[in-house]
Symmetry: C2
Subunit: 356 residues, 2 copies
């Protein structure tokens, strides 16, 4: 017997950025309210949420009051401190659960988990020290990429190593943070599958989108992706396998490389994902509502795609294009209500519906 | 030179019901914030708005503070007291403007305005007293319908008169409120056109939807309506004529009867309209975003319809159907976050996307 958060109930969301904002809007469509917890004042999600708590991740009293005011807790980013989770979990369900967070908070754990599931990842080695890095470089070869095990995103905390001689400097740049070395993967394209699993165990996947990155940041996602029906089905089955193994509840973003020898898992994110924003224009139920449905114990919605869509991120100075984009037919604007359009900052996105 | 409310700007919305709620969500997509003004505490729109003021319509200080905190003011219902408008208008643009409100706040003014534009309405007569009612009944004939000139909605403030003998009682029921008598119109169906006009004068119309009412409340709107291409074009031209004549800014709902002798205007509403909710599922830019774009001085968006949709209101006890509706494919749920599901209360709606 699965308990649905009733209409009028409250979803607690850790993190009040653009993902929290769009989750909050989606929850409102289901008659649910949102309570945002974020250490920064005036988070973008606060503009469309019922309640906002501004408090630090180590403020135990604030965390407890937050948990007690909500029916279920979810998050918009995976790097929630463990101590905060301990407090929250004791009071309310946190979805997706601890295992998904443990796996995705640490690149090494994630890669080990995927390998143990029988999935293919880039070659990788744990590099606790410089000697291990040199050994890893001789096994995997250069070029390779040194990544912190924790807390990296949008290309931050990463260093490309083009030749073994650059190892020492790259290792020093990690400043003592645990790191892994990843080999490069030759791929024809990168796709991502946005998958959802409900409390009852049902799994639903959106069509894979094809991603283009620039400067380590997602630039564009195109639907449909240029993959064969077989590759598409492989991608969907693989995503289902990951969600199932984690007894996952919620939406997950699974980034995959399409290679000559099959699909290689690049990364998983236990949350709604930038490469799933296209669902707002292409599906009856978008990834944000799907996530809210899942964590609230509601049945999953219909993610069948009814349109071809190109999602493009608006980053920093792209905001100058808004007046022109607002004029374009078949463009859905989504702006995040952020103050300053700093370089590299995700300010919004557009979903362009492609006809004929 | 038209001034656009900039990203980060604030839209003031008078009224915090479901229309204000969906307007607020739409504004958030454009990076705009909303400030809701409503006399009732905890209005549904407050759950997704940046700021909420709970104050009476005659609280001059609260109205002034509200106006000063926003860039432009709009509303979700047309019966804003005139004195409140005087205060607000002195400080910020109110859109749609005063003429649209004057016309739609009074059934007699509305009918006169439409007639003067050369449009056809139901036969009507001003009935300042009972003698006038009897004279009107003998001219228009029975059955007819006696309506208060002001403040009626969803079938309230109306009395059907089946025979002249019922005139006295019906008139007494109006309890001294100004009233008009309207004749019945024989029609094959009722349609409504949701039309928008921007600050620059551009006009855009959504496809007409076909409405079914039950107990005086809209039950269902179906797209496409069962009208000929010529009737559809007539409807669109007629709506454009109304908006243009009023130098209207915003979205308007125009209800029309389809009759053997052409289109008859039933009613206009200077706001987003229940019969336009289908646009959330059928168009790239829905009526709520279109309204925000218009009042914020942004270019109008693309309202071309890309799907067949049936919108159905969830009224009172219909809320018991939510778990089942949440399971249905191709159903978009929109719940309003209202507490008590009283009989006759609009609690939400579903947009059902019709395939094949």
């Amino acid at each position: 017997m699965i308990e649905m958060v009733p209409v009028g109930g409250v979803i607690g969301i850790l993190g009040g950025g653009q993902l929290g904002r769009m989750l909050s809007v989606a929850a409102s469509r289901l008659g649910l309210r949102c309570h945002i917890y974020d250490p920064s004042p005036n988070p973008p999600a606060g503009q469309v949420a019922d309640i906002v708590t501004t408090a630090a991740w180590d403020d135990a009293a604030a965390l407890r009051a937050f948990a007690e005011s909500v029916d279920v807790i979810t998050y918009e980013f995976e790097n929630i401190p463990t101590a905060a989770l301990d407090i929250l979990e004791a009071l309310r369900p946190v979805r997706p659960g601890r295992q998904a967070l443990a796996v995705s908070q640490d690149r090494l754990t994630e890669k080990d988990f995927l390998r143990d599931l029988g999935l293919v990842t880039a070659p990788y080695r744990d590099v606790p020290d410089e000697a291990a890095l040199q050994a890893a470089l001789s096994e995997i070869g250069a070029p390779a990429i040194l990544k912190t095990r924790r807390l990296g995103y949008d290309g931050k905390g990463q260093a490309r190593i083009m030749a073994p001689e650059q190892g020492a400097e790259a290792f020093a740049d990690m400043a003592g943070q645990d790191a892994i070395l990843e080999g490069f993967v030759e791929f024809s394209c990168e796709i991502s599958v946005i998958a959802a699993r409900g409390v009852s165990g049902e799994v639903a996947c959106y069509d894979p989108g094809e991603n283009i990155h620039e400067d380590g940041i997602l630039r564009r996602t195109t639907l449909p992706a240029s993959v064969t029906p077989m590759q598409q089905m492989d991608a969907v089955l693989l995503a289902g396998k990951i969600l199932n193994a984690l007894e996952y509840v919620g939406v997950m973003g699974v980034e995959l490389f399409v290679t000559k020898r099959g699909l290689v898992v690049n990364e998983i994110a236990p949350r709604v994902h930038n490469s799933g924003h296209w669902t707002q224009a292409g599906c009856a139920v978008d990834q944000f509502e799907q996530h809210i449905r899942a964590v609230a114990g509601w049945p999953l919605g219909n993610g069948a795609r009814h349109a071809d869509v190109v999602m493009e991120n608006l980053i920093g100075a792209d905001m100058a294009r808004v007046p022109e984009l607002a004029r374009e037919a078949d463009v859905q604007l989504h702006l995040y209500g952020k103050g300053e359009a700093r370089a590299g900052r995700k300010m919004g996105h557009v979903n362009r519906i492609m006809r004929g």
